[in-house]
């Protein structure tokens, strides 16, 4: 699957409270509603600036903090197509795989706000179209790629009723 979009750039240690604050996540299970508040404490205008298919790009330890799955779900429902970071916190990482939000681990220093990117997860390629630069990415382990390519863990369980990863 090939994804194309422009970059919204953030720094290191973007925690789940910044992605979607606790003061919203308990109010509703309506993810389109939660999506309006995504990244609000870091950039109040963020949601209104996203075009469908855009990327969130960040530094290290993206998604640290709580286990709230509202974090990847709010990002998906804000029409972000993938999160690209130097590294991810582990619960967030699992939650992305399980909910079907593609994530890319790579050096993000050569990606700037507004850059146009093309990402191909299967081939393991990230191409910065604005800079004409190919950036190597850390491939996802097969187990995670399988769950992600099936559309997440819900779809996996619908299909098999249990784990079928061998």
């Amino acid at each position: 699957m090939s994804l194309t979009g422009k970059v919204h750039k953030f720094g290191d240690d973007v925690n789940t409270d910044y992605i979607i604050s606790g003061r919203y996540k308990f109010k509703t299970l309506d993810m389109r509603e939660l999506a309006k508040h995504v990244m609000e404490d870091l950039d109040p205008e963020f949601y209104s600036h996203v075009t469908k298919g855009d990327f969130i790009v960040a530094g290290k330890n993206f998604g640290c903090g709580s286990s709230r799955e509202q974090a990847p779900l709010a990002i998906i429902n804000a029409d972000i197509s993938a999160v690209i970071a130097k590294s991810f916190a582990r619960i967030f990482y699992r939650n992305c795989i399980n909910t079907g939000l593609p994530l890319v681990e790579c050096d993000t220093d050569q990606i700037d706000p507004g850059d146009e990117l093309e990402v191909n997860l299967k081939e393991g390629i990230l191409y910065n179209k604005t800079k004409g630069l190919e950036i190597p990415i850390t491939p996802l382990p097969p187990v995670m790629l399988k769950i992600l390519s099936e559309g997440g863990l819900v779809e996996h369980f619908k299909k098999y009723g249990t784990f079928n990863l061998d």
Binding site: N61, G65, S66, R90, R94, F157, F163
Partner: protein
């Protein structure tokens, strides 16, 4: 080649010879969700076309994050949890029962050697009693309660050897804040932490929970300790389950071994807005404080309340300062009532609220105002964490909180400890 505690538990639960970086599917001994995560887990459970949980005795749901409900939308989520719990016959804890991470060990649901998941990031707390427990999201929880299994990447382990003796007025909270400040918020990402050494052996089980609870704040998957005589006695007091403690092999392979001498450690404070922004109390003393909070899965246990009450006894908190106290469970609250601790808090000027998470996570029961400084015994101080992104949250021990609300500014608790 020997194994770490994490490798041994995941080997035993997956019936494979598991080593760091292997991916295994392992059997779960216990699973837990709270009211911030269970709604989505129930939705996923239904979408996965499941009918029954794998074993009702091994599943718990806890209403603690917004308890009692402050909002209509939350009430609907709570109702959904009550219905699910009734239909499935699982363990269920309603408003006032307490914080999930206090209840799970206190009610005897987990014992040494267990493999446990919880849809809450501080599930790593039970590592203090030799349980491989880790936080997951709602969809993982749904898969876990349906199948009784989950996939795990076997973590490498970073070992903390803590030598020496904590001095008077310095607590396990100060120690874990210091370690997080030292290795930073992602210093142990994807890894298990093992805590060992004389300083750990000297701690009570309650004080050890504080350390394992905050393993996630250094990015770790779990915060494990070996079971000693104290652990075994504590677990037997709380649980009837059979168990077999798991020790690391002498020749286990660690990603890193870090040694510390804790003897000269002074009280520590995490400054806004990250947990690894840690300073000794001497560097921040005098900072004005408008609100204090004693509670949470980190420091709302009976020992924590005793420490706070001892400092507050017979005194009044400073003018223009507020103190909120939330015991971590109904049992803790009852014990605090019996010991007269609640009376001390209330007389000192504190507002004692329902056992639960509210103030820590910003859902209700103490959202600070713009520009205010808060000193809290919680585990997180992210911007907006307590419900207002224009407030400033400092983290410290119950003693530091109690001393600071007496003076209205960040204060070294040793000034109040005889």
């Amino acid at each position: 080649m020997g194994k770490t505690i994490a490798e041994k538990i995941l080997s035993s639960k997956s019936k494979r010879n598991a080593r760091a970086n292997d991916i295994v599917i392992a059997d779960l001994d216990f699973t837990m969700g709270q009211d911030g995560t269970s709604g989505l887990a129930i939705r996923a459970f239904n979408e996965m076309n499941a009918a029954r949980v794998f074993d009702p005795a091994r599943v718990a749901m806890v209403i603690d994050h917004s308890a009692p409900s402050p909002l209509e939308g939350v009430s609907a989520l709570h109702q959904q949890m009550r219905n699910f719990a009734n239909n499935q016959g699982i363990n269920f804890y309603d408003i006032g029962d307490g914080v999930c991470h206090q209840l799970v060990p206190e009610q005897g649901h987990v014992v040494p050697g267990d493999l446990v998941i919880g849809a809450d990031s501080h599930t790593c707390t039970y590592g203090a009693i030799n349980v491989f427990s880790t936080g997951v999201g709602s969809t993982d929880l749904a898969a876990g309660i349906i199948s009784g299994k989950l996939w795990f990447k076997v973590p490498e382990t970073i070992k903390f050897v803590l030598n020496g003796k904590l001095s008077r007025g310095v607590y396990s909270k100060d120690l874990i804040l210091y370690l997080i400040g030292d290795i930073t918020a992602d210093g142990a990402t994807y890894m298990a932490a093992e805590y060992t050494g004389q300083a750990i052996a000297d701690l009570s089980i309650e004080a050890r929970f504080t350390i394992s609870n905050m393993a996630i704040e250094m990015g770790a998957k779990c915060g494990l300790m070996e079971a000693d005589d104290k652990t075994i006695a504590w677990v037997k007091e709380h649980s009837k389950k059979e168990f077999e403690p798991v020790k690391a092999d002498a020749d286990a392979v660690y990603a890193q071994v870090l040694e510390y001498d804790v003897s000269s450690l002074e009280p520590q404070v995490a400054k806004p807005h990250t947990v690894d922004n840690v300073a000794p109390i001497s560097a921040v003393a005098g900072t004005p404080i408008q609100q204090g909070f004693i509670g949470t899965c980190t420091n709302g246990r009976i020992e924590d309340l005793r420490i706070g009450a001892e400092i507050l006894k017979g005194k009044k908190i400073a003018e223009n300062t507020r103190l909120i106290v939330a015991p971590s469970s109904r049992q803790v609250m009852l014990q605090a009532l019996r010991e007269g601790l609640i009376e001390i808090f209330v007389e000192s000027g504190a507002a004692v609220v329902t056992p639960g998470c509210g103030p820590c996570v910003g859902t209700h029961n103490g959202v600070p105002s713009d520009g205010e400084n808060v000193i809290s015994t919680a585990n997180r101080n992210f911007k907006g964490r307590m419900g207002n992104n224009k407030a400033f949250v400092y983290l410290g021990s119950p003693a530091t909180v109690a001393a600071s609300v007496l003076t209205g500014k960040l204060t070294d608790p040793r000034e109040f400890i005889k």
